[in-house]
């Protein structure tokens, strides 16, 4: 049988599976799959593609937005919103222009990009909340929690300011990311310059430029200079990836935990093992597999993956 014929049968089984299989059908399918690895791989290949196509859900329009769509489509969208109730919203909603004074939020493991009224692009990382207010006089963003990357359209008359914790970050023509965890703030500058001030402080301010990472705690500000490649790695979450270069397992786990409900807990000496590589942020399983090479034990209990020596 040719690859094409096998693929035809595999696709028919998957389409039936997509509809819902009876127990009898399921048994028949299993039998077919066990007949030959050629059947199995053909099936897995199509299954993987069909799963990947779930990402197309990101293209789903908001219920009310017609965007020149036919009335039928609007009806469908509304119906779909009622029926499907996906929750969490579109995973990636590109280039959506939004009116001023708006709140944005992402759930765990989600990233979202929005364009503000002034053209500035904001990318929200996992578990992030922010409020943006863009009007004729000023442009401000308040980062309530999480992390966001800003690609600012510079405007001398309207400075772009981000408030995070007790810090005010003002753009001087730039691309930068701000991460906030309680009062701790980290600013990563990709391009251009930013000015960082302590609110209610003594007017102290720090200028940071491309390649700088600022870490603040209380009134202290630490500036770290990093090579561009490291900065790019730090911002790899924008593509849904986590990139490590000799970070400890404990640090890597902390990063993964931001993106996943399934949490990783690294115990004892294993915390100090250093790892490298790039990973999909939502692929905790890859993280688990990594440890085979280190002879670590990996156990999962109640949604927590416990890694120890």
């Amino acid at each position: 049988m040719s690859a094409d014929e096998i693929e035809q049968i595999a696709s028919e089984w998957l389409a039936r599976e997509d509809r819902g299989l009876t127990a009898e059908e399921h048994a028949l399918m299993e039998r077919w799959l066990e007949e030959s690895s050629l059947h199995k791989v053909s099936y897995l290949r199509l299954k993987a593609v069909w799963r990947r196509a779930d990402r197309l859900g990101a293209l789903k329009r908001p219920p009310a937005a017609g965007r020149g769509a036919s009335p039928r489509w609007i009806g469908l969208s509304v119906a779909a919103a009622l029926i499907v109730c996906v929750g969490g919203g579109a995973w990636l909603a590109w280039h959506r222009t939004v009116p001023p004074g708006q709140d944005f939020a992402t759930g765990i493991g989600r990233i979202q990009a929005v364009r503000l009224a002034d053209g500035t692009k904001v990318e929200l990382n996992t578990n992030t909340r922010l409020h943006a207010d863009v009007n004729d006089a000023s442009r401000t963003v308040r980062l309530d929690s999480g992390e966001a990357y800003f690609d600012v359209v510079h405007d001398d008359k309207r400075p772009f300011t981000v408030y995070a914790g007790n810090r005010r970050i003002t753009d001087i023509g730039t691309k930068f990311s701000v991460f906030r965890n309680g009062d701790d703030v980290r600013v990563t500058v990709r391009e251009g310059k930013v000015r960082i001030e302590v609110l209610n402080g003594d007017g102290k301010q720090v200028l940071a430029e491309a390649g700088h990472v600022l870490v603040t705690k209380g009134l202290e500000t630490l500036i770290i200079t990093k090579p561009e490649a490291d900065i790019v790695n730090d911002l790899s979450w924008r593509d849904g990836m986590l990139i490590f270069n000799q970070q400890t397992l404990a640090e890597a786990a902390e990063q993964f935990n931001r993106y996943n409900e399934r949490q990783i807990l690294v115990e004892g000496p294993a915390r100090k093992i250093r790892i490298g590589g790039s990973f999909k942020a939502d692929n905790v399983d890859v993280f688990v597999l990594l440890h085979r090479g280190f002879g670590l034990s990996v156990n999962e209990q109640d949604g927590t993956i416990i890694v120890s020596r």
Partner: protein
């Protein structure tokens, strides 16, 4: 290794290499019509081998198998002399990087899928769109479009095959890797 873990491993580690594999086969195999057979057979052999033991380095392993398959076929067919292939520096794939670079970045992935979706024939596209974008069940799609559930099922089957073809043969995600591998240096059988 249990069955599900093996299947997951295969989908996660082997299948993302498909664009590279397809490209590799296309570069080195004259008969376009046989690419699908070669690919499927290579996959099956990797899968069989992984039942016993997972290869440490997936990429070199897969390409080695693909290469051997081509050589076997050539021997059987004796269409091309083996020397003509010897100058192709085929197997400089010994790096042990995880295949994660083969994963397409999220944004690029969405664009890729959308482009593939847009290439589907109209009715097929409509079914896939309602199923995957709007999240309708097959039954709901049938009702909404006023067609039978069997028709929806057929279109779903057709849609996933066409999507697989569009994504597996794509070229954009391959270019970055192409620079790193010598076997792309001397393109052969380019039509």
């Amino acid at each position: 290794m249990n069955q599900d873990a093996l299947d997951d491993w295969f989908m996660r580690e082997v299948l993302p290499l498909e664009p590279m594999l397809t490209r590799f086969l296309q570069r080195n195999w004259r008969h376009e019509a046989e690419i699908g057979d070669l690919r499927q057979e290579a996959y099956a052999r990797v899968y069989e081998a992984a039942k016993r033991e997972r290869p440490q380095l997936v990429k070199p392993f897969l390409f080695q198998i693909a290469r051997n398959l081509m050589i076997d076929r050539l021997r059987r067919q004796s269409v091309v002399s083996l020397e003509s292939m010897a100058d192709v520096d085929w197997l400089n794939v010994s790096d042990d990087r995880p295949s994660s670079e083969a994963y397409v970045a999220a944004r690029q992935e969405l664009r890729l899928l959308q482009a593939a979706l847009d290439k589907l024939p109209p009715r097929c596209r409509q079914v896939v769109l309602m199923r995957k974008v709007e999240g309708f069940s097959q039954r709901e799609v049938a009702k909404e479009m006023g067609i039978t559930i069997e028709t929806v099922e057929n279109q779903v089957a057709k849609g996933m095959r066409l999507l697989a073809q569009a994504i597996g043969g794509r070229r954009d995600a391959v270019t970055a890797q192409a620079r790193r591998y010598n076997f792309f240096r001397k393109p052969r059988h380019v039509r």
